[in-house]
């Protein structure tokens, strides 16, 4: 029904629509917003990890020249943020997160008061004059402390500091399977606490609009409608009276897909003072007091038959979620994801898992790109490697014997996997590594006493979670569907509006490609609008690699409906049935007469300006909306990563010599954009594998408050990535696309860890924790003399 196939934009690396403004300094990020009379907020934050507030004295703050106000929780009387799961108390303990701490603080950096001044410098002056007195309580800073039987409680209602404790699966007879199996291997995997680290920190500008009777909240969020809901509830406004607008956003990676406290407090201050208020988080707060992620501990074992076929997987997962449950996902986000999906790409016949979320006196957590999958893939891939060693099998061969090959496949975890290219990606990745000569070079290097290792990870990534998939988690609010509106104006130009919000993913380009193809329209005639809660009724935003799969499908459907209307108007003018028309390059044509065509401008003119000409059954106007949801278990992208590393004996440095990625995200709407997602994701996965970690000392003080002590890798550490594409189109998204946002991050840590272990093979040392520090590597490579051995 659209233009000739070779004109299609979907599948082509169309130049990004976002680029001209971003390249010339004309982007508009939240800190670029300047409003008349605007004031600036900063937060007084807890200096202790755990304690009772005995006094907050802001009198001297209010005397600082330029400070207009300072508010505590008592001054603002705001509602709490409470994220809920529909699970019994034995499985989930709900906890409330106040906007400002009331009588209790639970992590260093927790906001206690908000100071508002005429400029940001003066607001900082104000912070220094604040005096808060605490009666310290013993801080809980690690899993062992949290789970101790007599542990002090971070939240009074959570015994043993456990917020989530679920056993989602337990195959009958699994213990006997392990008892009888010829090969059982164990791992104890730990991953460090990380910051997702969008380069733009969080921020907000809030103002009251008298004419609209609305709070307008400009904030960099991945979930504008959810921020609206929470802001309205906390501020006790009708939801209509809150408009959330997302400007250009400097990355999110999940950190910005939960509702923060500071944007609500900023809004409350603006309402209180009757003036616009801006809050821009500084890097210290962003690192230590925003939302963290990734700190997990897997104790897992797997049973194999003598041929290396997996018989069972048995895992205990503990996720350190920090001080509070995040909205809307709750502290269940990590353990529920890990529990539901751990069998991954393998045919696992028996499965048991216990997943727990514990609360500690550390900054709270948010979903971070990959959510648990980088970690459980690491645990499972370590089990595969260990079994391969035990059974003297090639590591690729053991995976080959276990990956799912017949689709659709319903796993032991009750998830149905749609078709993918698990085996093909594995084979192609190994071939790429081999053909680049790395196996030969490894052998040569070993002969010289150098430590070169090759590692793989094989994984799938569930994307396009619809409401059915989210409902399985039993969240109180169930994300899933998305909404799109496509309208054409009298000039034949199209505006598409989505409930998703791009912040680096290039939706202004890719969504426009979809619309342009569907309508047979020049892409220059299509503009995407996103991130404004007043422009689209509802949306679930951008996270979980959902935007192209779900949002893109909604856009495709809405554009299709608009196309149908254009055809109907043209058909009416010609007096023929609409089926005898087609869309072609900005015109509706008659199938029976290639020369007869009506331009979109002409049809739009009819629809709006001369609507009396329309038949009675066609409404004036050219607007179409569509909703898309996924009613099955979602669609699975997949990939295999192959990594070559060299370990340097003297420094303990892990150098990545080569990186190969064979990915399959179905139809790649824009291959260049997909490659960008892969490379960027891999860089973040490597960051977690080798560099980044926020630790806490015994007092609960975070180790990283600046980039001096949080090592973000640069172009010197991140390697070039060779990418190969496979394409297994999704059968039920409207474009055949699957999500592509997180795969890179999911696969990298396991592949890097496996490569390091391969390099360490001659030493007999195996590492199961990330980040892999130079110290660990150095120690593994340094032969111990008998007296050094403890």
């Amino acid at each position: 029904m659209t233009s000739a196939k070779d004109d299609r934009l979907v599948g082509r690396s169309v130049a990004r629509r976002e680029d001209p403004r971003l390249l010339s300094g004309r982007g508009r990020f939240v800190d670029d917003i300047e409003l008349p009379g605007m004031l600036h907020a900063q937060f007084v934050r807890s200096t202790v990890a755990h304690g009772t507030i005995t006094e907050i004295d802001l009198s001297r703050v209010r005397q600082v020249p330029g400070v207009l106000a300072a508010f505590t929780a008592a001054d603002l009387e705001l509602g709490d943020i409470t994220a809920q799961l529909g699970r019994p108390l034995s499985e989930f303990v709900p906890t409330a997160m106040p906007i400002l701490a009331r009588d209790r603080v639970r992590y260093v950096g927790e906001p206690v008061a908000v100071v508002v001044a005429r400029d940001p410098y003066l607001a900082e002056d104000g912070l220094e004059a604040a005096r808060v007195t605490y009666a310290p309580l013993p801080p809980i800073t690690c899993e062992e402390q949290a789970l101790a039987p007599d542990a002090p409680r971070v939240h009074a209602e959570a015994a043993r500091n456990t917020l989530v404790d679920v056993g989602l699966f337990a195959t009958e007879g699994i213990d006997e399977i392990f008892d009888r199996a010829p090969c059982v291997v164990h791992v104890d995997v730990r991953t460090g606490r990380q910051n997702a680290l969008p380069l733009e920190t969080r921020g907000a500008v809030a103002r009251w609009d008298d004419r609209e009777e609305q709070l307008v909240l400009h904030t960099c969020t991945q979930t504008p409608h959810q921020v609206r809901t929470v802001a309205a509830r906390c501020l006790r406004l009708d939801e209509r009276a809150v408009r959330v607008i997302v400007p250009d956003m400097g990355g999110g990676f999940g950190l910005k897909c939960v509702v923060g406290r500071e944007e609500i407090a900023t809004a409350a201050a603006a309402l209180r003072l009757g003036r616009p208020v801006k809050w821009i988080e500084d890097r210290k707060d962003a690192l230590s007091a925003s939302f963290l992620a990734r700190e997990q501990h897997y104790t897992a074992r797997a049973a194999f038959d003598a041929d290396g076929r997996i018989l069972g997987l048995d895992a205990d997962v503990v996720c350190d979620m920090g001080a509070y449950s995040c909205y809307p996902f709750t502290a269940g986000i990590e353990p529920l994801m890990a529990s539901a999906e751990m069998p991954g790409v393998y045919k696992v016949p028996a499965y048991r898992v216990r997943g727990r979320a514990i609360t500690t006196n550390k900054a709270p957590t948010a979903p971070y790109r990959g959510v648990s999958r980088p970690q459980y893939v690491m645990a499972v891939e370590r089990l595969m490697e260990r079994a391969a060693r035990e059974l003297r099998l090639d590591p690729v061969e053991i995976r080959r014997r276990n990956v799912i090959t017949d689709f659709p496949y319903t796993g032991v975890n009750n998830i149905t996997y749609d078709p993918g290219s698990y085996l093909e990606s594995l084979d192609l990745c190994e071939r790429a590594v081999r053909e680049a000569g790395w196996y030969d070079r490894q052998a040569a290097a070993r002969a010289e006493g150098r430590h070169i290792g090759i590692g793989y990870s094989c994984f799938s990534e569930r994307t396009g979670y619809g409401s059915a998939a989210f409902a399985q988690r039993k969240m109180e609010v169930v994300p899933g569907f998305d909404l799109a509106e496509v309208r054409m104006d009298t000039s034949g130009a199209v505006t598409a509006t989505t409930g998703t919000i791009s912040h680096g993913q290039s939706h202004e380009t890719t969504m426009a490609q979809i619309v342009a193809d569907t309508l047979g329209l020049d892409i220059a005639k299509v503009k995407l609008h996103q991130g404004d809660t007043d422009r689209i009724t509802y949306g679930w935003g951008t996270f979980a690699s959902r935007s192209i799969a779900v949002g893109g499908s909604a856009v495709r459907l809405a554009a299709g409906k608009l196309g149908d209307k254009l055809r109907a108007i043209a058909a009416a003018e010609w007096g023929i049935p609409p089926e005898e028309t087609e869309l072609d390059r900005g015109r509706v044509r008659r199938r029976d007469d290639p020369d007869a065509a009506l331009t979109y401008e002409h049809l739009a003119d009819t629809a709006y300006l001369t609507s009396h000409l329309l038949p009675k059954d066609i409404d004036p106007g050219l607007t179409a909306t569509a909703v898309f949801d996924v009613h099955n278990d979602g669609t699975f992208s997949n990939a295999t990563h192959g990594v070559v590393v060299e370990l340097h004996e003297g420094t303990g440095q892990v150098e990545i010599l080569a990186y190969f990625c064979v990915e399959d995200c179905g139809v790649a709407v824009n291959p260049q954009v997909v490659e960008g997602q892969c490379r960027g994701g891999i860089a973040q996965g490597i960051s977690g594998a080798l560099f980044e970690q926020i630790t806490y000392d015994a007092q609960g003080e975070p180790s990283a408050t600046s980039f001096m002590d949080y090592k973000v890798p640069t172009a010197q550490e991140i390697p070039e990535v060779v990418i190969h594409h496979l394409e297994t189109p999704c059968a039920f998204t409207a474009t055949g696309a699957k999500g592509a946002g997180e795969g890179g991050t999911i696969g990298a840590p396991a592949a890097v860890l496996n490569a390091v272990n391969d390099a360490l093979r001659p030493t007999g040392v195996e590492l199961d924790h990330t980040p892999i520090t130079p110290e660990t590597v150095h120690r593994a490579l340094t032969p111990r003399t008998p007296e050094q051995t403890p």
């Binding site: 690396s13 130049a15 990004r16 976002e18 680029d19 001209p20 971003l22 390249l23 010339s24 300094g25 004309r26 982007g27 508009r28 990020f29 800190d31 670029d32 300047e34 020249p65 330029g66 005429r118 400029d119 940001p120 410098y121 003066l122 002056d125 680290l197 969008p198 380069l199 733009e200 250009d248 956003m249 400097g250 990355g251 990676f253 500084d282 890097r283 912040h503 680096g504 993913q505 290039s506 260049q672 954009v673 490659e675 960008g676 490379r679 960027g680 994701g681 891999i682 860089a683 973040q684 600046s706 980039f707 001096m708 973000v712 640069t714 172009a715 010197q716 991140i718 070039e720 990535v721």
Partner: protein, 179 residues
């Protein structure tokens, strides 16, 4: 007194030469160059990522050399030539410059927040070292942080721009020698 100064602050009148235009600014001595560029002169293309000189999102050129604008007081920049990302496109037509076009061709940006810093870093570096190899470029690119791209396409974009500039110069020189 304006909104950027406090009642008790000393303020001073400074003159800043930004992108060839002279600006008079009344400012407190403690204000950084990046804050004055962004909030007083409304040149918001230069971004703030860390305020301690590591991420490089605020990179501008001061007398042609890349500088962290978050580590410099505005008053220190008086008398210097400051160049920001806003200078790179053609002022009359808005047409992107060759470095900017290379970034878009190679998908060297995603969210675009770090991009102005990388552009100014590269602009300063290539002016100084037009013969830079791809490895030289990778080393310099390591001065700034990007969280989206994995750096590969940034390096490729700058390398492509450097290569194109060299071949243009060679062609120019050839044409000149023919005349």
């Amino acid at each position: 007194m304006n909104d950027t100064t406090g009642p008790g602050d000393d303020v001073q009148l400074i003159t800043l030469d930004v992108n060839g235009t002279s600006h008079e600014v009344i400012t407190a001595p403690r204000r950084t160059l990046v804050d004055v560029l962004r909030h007083d002169l409304r040149l918001t293309g230069t971004h703030v990522g860390c305020e301690h000189g590591i991420c490089g999102a605020c990179t501008v050129l001061v007398d042609g050399l890349p500088v962290r604008a978050c580590l410099m007081f505005a008053a220190q920049a008086e008398g210097a030539r400051i160049t920001t990302v806003e200078s790179l496109a053609d002022p009359a037509t808005g047409e992107l410059g060759d470095l900017q076009r290379a970034f878009t061709a190679h998908h060297g940006l995603q969210c675009g927040f770090c991009t102005p810093g990388f552009l100014m870093l590269a602009q300063g570096f290539l002016a100084e070292r037009p013969e830079a190899t791809k490895e030289d470029i990778r080393e310099v690119v390591a001065a700034n942080l990007c969280r989206c791209t994995g750096y590969q396409t940034i390096v490729e974009a700058i390398d492509a721009c450097a290569t194109a500039r060299r071949s243009q110069r060679a062609t120019g020189a050839e044409e000149e020698s023919c005349n």
